[in-house]
């Protein structure tokens, strides 16, 4: 097994699916020959599969998403890329009113097997329109599945599952993990949706988080182990479907929960997880459920401001120490 980046793992998954199924195609702004995607995920695919199947589009997010919907309901398997997650705001009608609702409002007549890839997260000093983490918007919309891979291995296995899924999948990536390397099998494998991964086992406290925060939580867990605090870290891998069992089992074991994401705090996915845990594991909790999120502000530009905005290891560690 060789070590490859999260970016290349994604590309490998896309490539394998395009080789397997002629109906799979990629469309988006600058995904093709000249650029290969703003984060280079699709670089080389247009050369291999042609500009028909790796299709550059005009800057028309609503039409990109809508065209993916129309193609999906008539037999294709589109993988649409929206360059930054913030820009899905321009395509919300097609994503949330059309893709998400078609199977339902047409009484099961229609399947919408599309994948919409996009990228969230800060840390690149690109300010309020290119750094947000908006996954909760979509978690609040019935009819969408949501993948949130934080590791290269998961990125490949989940993108392949997403493409084969009969329903619309929002496939969210994170800017700061594209370059992270990990051992990824060259052969085919699929990762089922709705199966969280326990990244580190522990006894004293459960930390549940997404994207880059999983990596930070693991660093914190390593640090705290020196002080005798045993931290269990859970990476949900998909938000819809959500693996409640792994989370609840862990909370029943540790009795304590810290939720960590890069989202602004109010109405974040962490709020939903906290609600689920108090509904389903209240009697096992020995302390309040803690949330570590960004403050309720737009994402700031200046490095000193952005570093303050994004949860860091100290804030995660402090939250853990407060309840352990």
């Amino acid at each position: 097994m060789t070590e490859i980046t999260y970016r290349d793992a994604l590309k490998q998954g896309l490539r394998e699916e395009m080789l397997r199924d002629d109906n799979v195609f990629i469309m988006g702004e600058d995904v093709g020959l000249n650029w290969g995607g703003a984060f280079k995920v699709t670089k080389g695919l247009a050369e291999e599969f042609g500009e028909d199947r790796v299709r550059d589009t005009p800057i028309s997010e609503n039409a990109i998403a809508g065209a993916a919907v129309g193609a999906a309901i008539t037999g294709m398997r589109p993988v649409a890329e929206i360059m930054f997650g913030d820009l899905i705001s321009l395509a919300m009608d097609q994503v949330c009113n059309q893709a998400a609702k078609m199977r339902y409002m047409f009484g099961g007549q229609t399947s919408v097997p599309l994948v919409l890839r996009s990228v969230f997260g800060g840390g690149k000093n690109i300010a309020s329109h290119h750094s947000q983490s908006l996954e909760a918007w979509f978690m609040h919309t019935p009819g969408l599945k949501i993948a949130v891979p934080a590791f290269a291995y998961d990125a490949k296995g989940l993108i392949k599952t997403a493409i084969r899924d009969p329903d619309p999948v929002m496939f969210f990536e994170h800017k700061l993990v594209y370059d992270r390397k990990e051992e990824v099998p060259e052969e085919e494998y699929l990762i089922p949706f709705g199966e969280a991964k326990v990244r580190r086992e522990g006894a004293d406290v459960t930390v549940w988080g997404t994207f880059f925060m999983v990596h930070k939580a693991l660093e914190v867990a390593e640090e705290l182990a020196k002080d005798g605090i045993s931290v269990e870290v859970i990476d949900p891998r998909t938000l819809v479907p959500l693996d409640k069992k792994t989370l609840i089992d862990s909370v029943k074991k540790t009795g304590r929960l810290v939720l960590v994401t890069e989202e602004t705090k109010t109405g974040a996915t962490t709020a939903e997880i906290a609600a689920i845990v108090q509904e389903e594991a209240f009697d096992w909790l020995d302390a309040p459920v803690m949330r570590v999120n960004a403050p309720d502000t737009p994402v700031p530009f200046s490095p000193t401001l952005e570093q303050y905005f994004i949860p860091d290891n100290k804030r995660i560690a402090d939250a853990i120490r407060e309840i352990v």
Partner: protein, 322 residues
């Protein structure tokens, strides 16, 4: 173009079928059996008829919030269509969609949408799919004058033109976006002018004349099927009633209303068919009786059908429940 006699009969039949269906809907609505709201297609029947007669069964249409006519004209099962309007289990959408989402996918209806102008990008995708799957399928996308002021209009016309997609844009210009007249929303009174800006051949036709709509659609469909890309057909037409259920449409000047009410789509195609000797009065009457019977049957079917069980509200979010 000389339109064949059989085609004239088809145009008459389809125009009348939509008219009788909508009159039945209005009648049932009067009995307070239709929940929610309705956007009746009365007055615009020649557009749906003219377009769909020019299409093949394997072609697609994208519908709108005023979609009953499109779906019925494309060949939908009228029992299932009527039952859907009444929110019944036997409805084409199992009672989950109603008037604004009336859809029968298996006769080539991509969907009816409650968001004005949201169908255009979906039609682009279906046409792209037809092109990529190397089929000869064509997509006809219906939308109104109001939709042409939305951003998706520009995004979609552009995308269809750069990729030369097999797509026909059908603008039903009924002169009002709800209650707002087109004089307040469009600097040119012709939406077709906007089509030209996207290098899309665009024409204006009399939308109450099914033959004019048909002939323009035949030409556009031919271009689309031969790889010549999209076209736009603006059909000037008029609602016989208000925008929706409770709208008496008092905002429309009486002389304008009188002008359009004198241009009844059913009468126009009937007179053409009679003049061309495609039809006799007796045959026309026989077609009407047959259609009326089918429409009445659909009404009875819908009224007698069961409502869905309440817990069916939970079905069909995903293919497999999660």
């Amino acid at each position: 173009m000389a339109v064949k006699k059989a085609t004239l009969v088809d145009l008459f039949t389809r125009t009348l079928k939509v008219r009788l269906f909508e009159e039945k809907v209005w009648d049932i609505f009067g009995q307070n059996l239709v929940p929610g709201t309705l956007h009746l297609y009365l007055g615009q029947e020649a557009v749906a008829a003219g377009v769909t007669v020019a299409l093949k069964e394997t072609d697609w249409i994208q519908s709108t919030h005023r979609g009953h006519g499109h779906v019925v004209a494309k060949g939908a099962d009228m029992n299932a269509a009527m039952a859907e309007l009444l929110g019944k289990k036997t409805g084409s959408c199992k009672g989950k969609g109603g008037s604004m989402h009336i859809t029968q996918f298996d006769v080539g209806v991509l969907g009816a949408t409650g968001v004005v102008a949201s169908g255009l990008p979906i039609a682009v995708g279906a046409a792209l799919s037809a092109q990529m799957r190397k089929t000869d399928e064509v997509v006809a996308c219906f939308f109104g004058d109001g939709a042409s002021n939305n951003g998706t209009f520009g995004e979609s016309l552009n995308m269809a033109a750069i990729w030369q997609l097999p797509l026909v844009w059908i603008v039903e210009n009924n002169l009002y976006a709800m209650g707002t007249p087109i004089t307040l929303t469009c600097p040119s009174q012709n939406i077709a002018d906007r089509g030209e800006a996207y290098c899309t051949p665009s024409v204006v036709v009399d939308g109450n004349n099914a033959v004019e709509v048909y002939e323009a659609t035949v030409e556009a469909v031919k271009r689309a099927r031969e790889g010549g890309g999209p076209s736009l057909i603006e059909c000037k037409t008029y609602r016989m009633r208000g925008h929706s259920r409770f709208d008496p449409a008092k905002y429309r000047p009486q002389d304008e209303v009188d002008h359009w009410m004198g241009r009844d789509a059913v009468e126009i195609i009937k007179n053409i068919a009679l003049e061309q000797k495609a039809l006799t009065e007796k045959q026309a009457e026989s077609i009407r009786k047959k259609l009326q019977k089918a429409v009445d049957k659909a009404g009875d079917f819908a009224i007698k059908s069961e409502h869905p069980a309440p817990e069916e509200a939970l079905d069909d979010v995903f293919k497999e429940a999660i």
